[in-house]
């Protein structure tokens, strides 16, 4: 019987030293870590090791990191955290739009990386006062089952997208600033990159809105951020 681990993590990075250091650090924190060094081998290794989270470098030989991200996202809802050397270029947005949940810019503090990883792996502890179902517009959210339906049709969301939707749905009248969403959903304690929020709201809208051009589930509040739309009459 395998020992209880905090989770399995796949490291996809072409720099051997960095990958080794990452594995050391992750295992010291109680995770199981494995590594693959080429983009074109990433998908196979992913299928083999079935990790709970993927740390993905964007600069990879064999297949570009953004494409690998897309491949992984197409198959699974696994949390993906990008490791980027360039923190302020289009690569970050490209990665987020390809399906990554968060990113960490090199060089990073070890604690920072671990905090992000743990946040993404967090099993959502439901406060007791949460109702078991929430409604926005014509969407029904089953909080315990982590499912979202429009009528009888299920909508498939990644864990991050689900959490984002839930954060908004829990307080339907509140307008959330992007900073607040970064804190609640991504676990940032310090001000971070609000582009994360923008990109993921777009992704969520494209999945959940009947008409993404005229959002009703997630409504933009000018000058502040976002708000959940009003529930339709049941």
């Amino acid at each position: 019987m395998s020992p209880m681990t905090a989770g399995r993590i796949l490291v996809v990075d072409d720099d051997a030293a960095l990958a080794e250091m990452l594995q050391i650090v992750l295992e010291a924190s109680g995770f199981d870590a494995s590594w693959v060094g080429r983009g074109d081998e990433a998908l196979a290794e992913f299928r083999r090791s079935k990790p709970d989270l993927v740390l993905l470098d964007l600069m990879l030989p064999g297949r570009d990191g953004v494409d690998v991200c897309r491949d992984l996202r197409a198959e699974s809802d696994v949390p993906i955290v990008m490791l980027t050397a360039k923190s302020d270029t289009l690569d970050v947005v490209a990665g987020l739009e390809a399906g990554a949940d968060d990113y960490v810019a090199k060089p990073f503090k070890t604690q920072e990386l671990l905090a992000r990883v743990k946040t993404r792996l967090r099993r959502n502890a439901r406060p007791d006062e949460d109702p078991s179902t929430l409604r926005i517009g014509d969407i029904v959210i089953d909080v315990d089952a982590h499912t979202v339906h429009r009528g009888s049709e299920p909508i498939s969301l990644t864990p991050l997208e689900f959490e984002l939707l839930l954060a908004l749905a829990r307080k339907p009248r509140q307008a959330f600033t992007r900073e607040l969403l970064l804190q609640e959903v991504w676990g940032y304690r310090h001000p971070g990159d609000t582009r994360l929020v923008n990109v993921h709201v777009q992704r969520l809208r494209s999945k959940i809105e009947a008409d993404p051009e005229r959002p009703e589930i997630i409504v933009t509040v000018r000058g502040i951020g976002y708000r959940a739309g009003t529930p339709a009459a049941p």
Partner: protein, 521 residues
């Protein structure tokens, strides 16, 4: 009123603006002057010549007639007629002769009265010549006059030739020959008219010719100017068409050559900039990965330092700290490099300055505590602008940490104020301050106020340089005010959106409480 002034100023504006107007006006004026002088001389000379000729002719005619009259008077048989009758006879004869060809009229001052030709008024003989004749100092006198008629003929200018008849025994009788100048007058009029006609033809002709010449001379100059303007507008491939070997062609060739050189230089600089940008990008990528590995290894050692012996533990502490410094320095160097290469870009988002400043100030609470400094905030409810939040945070963070570091434990006040066009943030400390001479150096790279100061914050000396670049990237301002021993105030002003023009700041750069340093209460 100013309209009128504008209108009155128009000619001088045209003058200074147009080379061809200057050329044409100058040459026309010169031509007019030359022609005017020449014409005047011509007319004057002609008049004089004609007058002299007429005088000579008249004098010789008068002389001949006078001589024959004199001999006629001598032959007078005084038994058959009086002097008066004889004089009248002579006058009639002379007048008849004079009327042939309308050459002259005659007036004789007889013993009784003036004897005149038919229809002539005696006023035709001016007083001046009557007096002159009486002096009898020469044979003949001349004077111009106006001939007046009594029979309705119009007055005309003329010449009086005066002499005297001597009658034996009875005295001296003045004789006045009055010659008409009508023909001469006509001649003169013709001369004058010709001169004027010539002028009327000449001046416009000259103007036209000078204008054409000026255009011809100016065309290459104008072409050069237009080509220069096109090049300056960014069309670097423009060249002048050059033909011939004269000065103007030389100008064209020199211009083209200059444009070539400039184009080449610009290309060089662009290439250099590209190379530098690529370098920054490559360095950025290459350095960050090993640095991350090293950092993580140092973190592991640092976390385990309690397990080491004191020496190794200390070593791991220093390693950890200095790596942090190294990382900040590298990040700052790469930022500066990006500014230099012109590769710095704004990631614009909606920013609430009130909230941002509050967060950044609060983030420095620990640092402030360690210096015993109180951080005071004066911010409005909100102050929204469009800006790059990452850069703005960096500026504020730098200003606040500088203020704490140099504040000598005294209060640090951070104020935010917004108006319709801009938001200003001032960070005021009451510490060491700086002198006017240092004011320029503050923003220079790697400059530190006092190199021997203990640096706990671990700055590289690049903070203010980067802050200034960040502010300017937004089209904003970063100003510093300081007084030795009186503290300092740094003011950041940002427009409501990057690139919007900035003319004033909502806050003053010089603090209101310029006076003694505050003491911590």
């Amino acid at each position: 009123m100013s309209r009128l002034r504008w209108l009155l100023g128009a000619p001088s504006r045209w003058w200074s603006r147009s080379l061809s107007i200057r050329v044409v006006t100058t040459s026309v004026t010169a031509a007019l002057v030359v022609f005017g002088v020449t014409g005047w001389l011509l007319v004057t000379d002609s008049s004089r010549g004609i007058l002299e000729a007429k005088t000579r002719q008249s004098v010789s005619e008068a002389s001949a007639v006078l001589t024959s009259m004199q001999s006629g008077l001598r032959d007078t048989d005084l038994r058959t007629s009086t002097v008066n009758e004889r004089l009248t006879e002579l006058a009639r004869d002379a007048a008849n002769r004079g009327n042939v060809g309308n050459q002259y009229e005659i007036v004789i001052s007889g013993p009784v009265s003036d004897i005149t030709s038919a229809g002539l008024s005696v006023t035709s003989v001016p007083e001046s010549i009557r007096e002159a004749v009486l002096t009898a100092s020469q044979d003949l006198y001349t004077t111009p006059t106006l001939i007046v008629f009594t029979d309705g003929r119009t007055s005309k200018p003329g010449l009086v030739v005066a002499g005297a008849l001597l009658a034996s025994g009875s005295g001296r009788y003045p004789v006045y020959f009055v010659f008409g100048m009508g023909q001469e007058q006509q001649t003169l009029a013709v001369v004058k008219q010709s001169a004027l006609v010539a002028a009327a033809v000449f001046v416009p002709l000259i103007t036209g010719i000078m204008y054409v010449i000026s255009l011809q001379a100016l065309r290459p100059i104008r072409a050069a100017r237009e080509a220069s303007e096109r090049i300056a507008a960014g069309n670097l491939d423009e060249r002048m068409t050059v033909s011939g070997t004269d000065d103007l062609a030389g100008l064209g060739r020199a211009m083209n050559h200059m444009a070539d050189e400039l184009g080449r230089k610009i290309q060089q600089l662009e290439n250099l900039s590209l190379v530098q940008r690529q370098f920054v990008s490559d360095v950025s990528h290459e350095l960050r990965t090993p640095l991350t590995t090293v950092r993580m290894a140092a973190d592991v050692l640092h976390d385990a330092r309690d397990d080491f012996d004191p020496v190794t533990a200390r070593a791991s502490e220093l390693l950890h700290r200095e790596l942090g410094r190294f990382e900040s320095l590298l990040t700052e160097l790469l930022e500066i490099s990006r500014f230099d290469a012109g590769a710095a870009e704004l990631q614009i988002d909606e920013v609430d300055m009130a909230e941002l400043v509050t967060t950044e100030v609060r983030a420095q609470d620990a640092l402030a505590d360690s210096y015993g400094t109180t951080l005071l905030l004066d911010v409005p409810a909100d102050a929204r602008i469009r800006a790059d939040p990452r850069r703005v945070r960096r500026i504020i963070s730098n200003l606040v940490s500088n203020a704490i570091e140099h504040g000598e434990g005294n209060d640090v006040l951070v104020r935010v104020k917004a108006d319709d066009d801009a938001v200003a943030v001032t960070v005021r400390d009451h510490g060491v301050g700086f002198s006017a001479a240092q004011a320029h150096q503050l923003f220079q790279r790697f400059w530190r106020a006092d190199p021997s100061r203990q640096r706990t914050v671990g700055g590289s000396g690049l903070g203010l340089s980067i802050a200034l670049e960040d502010a300017q990237l937004h089209g904003g301002w970063l100003n510093a005010w300081g007084r030795p021993g009186g503290g300092a105030q740094f003011r950041l002003t940002l427009p409501i959106a990057p690139g919007e023009p900035l003319s004033t700041s909502p806050l003053a750069a010089v603090p209101e409480d310029v006076g003694g340093p505050w003491q911590r209460s």
